[in-house]
């Protein structure tokens, strides 16, 4: 059984990565507010890095890394529901295949 802090940290890492990527997307589409979007993204990046190292204290890498595959799904959902991107079935299929591949690679890298 994992340390209870581990699952909380995993969720935080996923939330941070998703927010960071959303900020990059906003920065790309709005050059006037580029710095106001990128600066918090960089801060989030560093916080995420610290939480990631903290997480690795409680969880082996081979277990933590596959869980980060949830980033692909979370960011696709943000694209679909917040940025109104149209995701056709090849795109969902591609995301699913990449997710499977990522988990296979990550699970072996403990």
């Amino acid at each position: 059984m994992n340390h209870p802090a581990a699952l909380l940290l995993v969720s935080c890492c996923i939330a941070i990565e998703t927010t960071e990527q959303s900020l990059y997307r906003m920065a790309g589409r709005n050059r006037h507010q580029f710095l106001y979007r990128v600066a918090p993204a960089i801060v989030l990046h560093m916080v995420g890095l610290l939480l990631w190292y903290w997480l690795l204290k409680y969880m082996p890498l081979g277990q933590a890394l596959p869980l980060m595959g949830a980033n692909f799904v979370a960011i696709a959902l943000v694209g679909r529901f917040i940025f109104c991107e149209e995701i056709n079935w090849p795109r969902w299929a591609g995301i699913a295949l990449i997710l499977c591949g990522f988990v296979l690679v990550a699970a072996k890298s403990s």
Partner: protein
């Protein structure tokens, strides 16, 4: 739903981003190998490695390219495609570092490549929606 034709995928930017990704991973590996040579004080020696600093300096370049890509490409397409850096790094680690890998890793890398190919091939036929995004700042000026 009203749709507009997608702009061409910024392939050159994307290829350059992947190249930088692989370069950063390799530089980090070189730097940590060098630092590990010295025995004690790993992080102090890591801080004295030029490779580590070059890897760090590539970060801002990647940020500029990445935001430029996201200007034209859906994040639900671009973000999963960045995972192509993993199979490319595996290949580089074979040829440059001579690492040997488990078959499960090769299957995983093939799945990532296949998934990216499916997404990439369908992206030209995809049309971007002009539906109003929830966040108003998203509109083009």
């Amino acid at each position: 739903m009203i749709t507009t034709p997608r702009k061409n995928f910024p392939l050159a930017f994307f290829a350059f981003l992947l190249l930088l990704d692989v370069t950063v991973y390799l530089l980090q590996k070189f730097a940590s190998l060098q630092a590990a040579h010295h025995g004690s004080g790993f992080f102090i020696h890591l801080g004295m490695e030029p490779w580590a600093w070059i890897a760090l300096a590539i970060g801002p370049i990647q940020l500029l390219i990445w935001t430029r890509i996201l200007e034209h490409v859906d994040i639900s397409l671009a973000y999963p495609l960045t995972s192509l850096a993993y199979p490319l790094t595996l290949l580089a680690s074979q040829f440059i570092l001579g690492e040997s890998l488990h078959w499960q890793v090769w299957i995983g890398a093939s799945l990532i490549t296949l998934g990216s190919a499916i997404m990439g091939m369908s992206s030209n036929k995809t049309r971007i929606s002009t539906a109003q995004p929830i966040i108003p700042a998203e509109q083009h000026p």
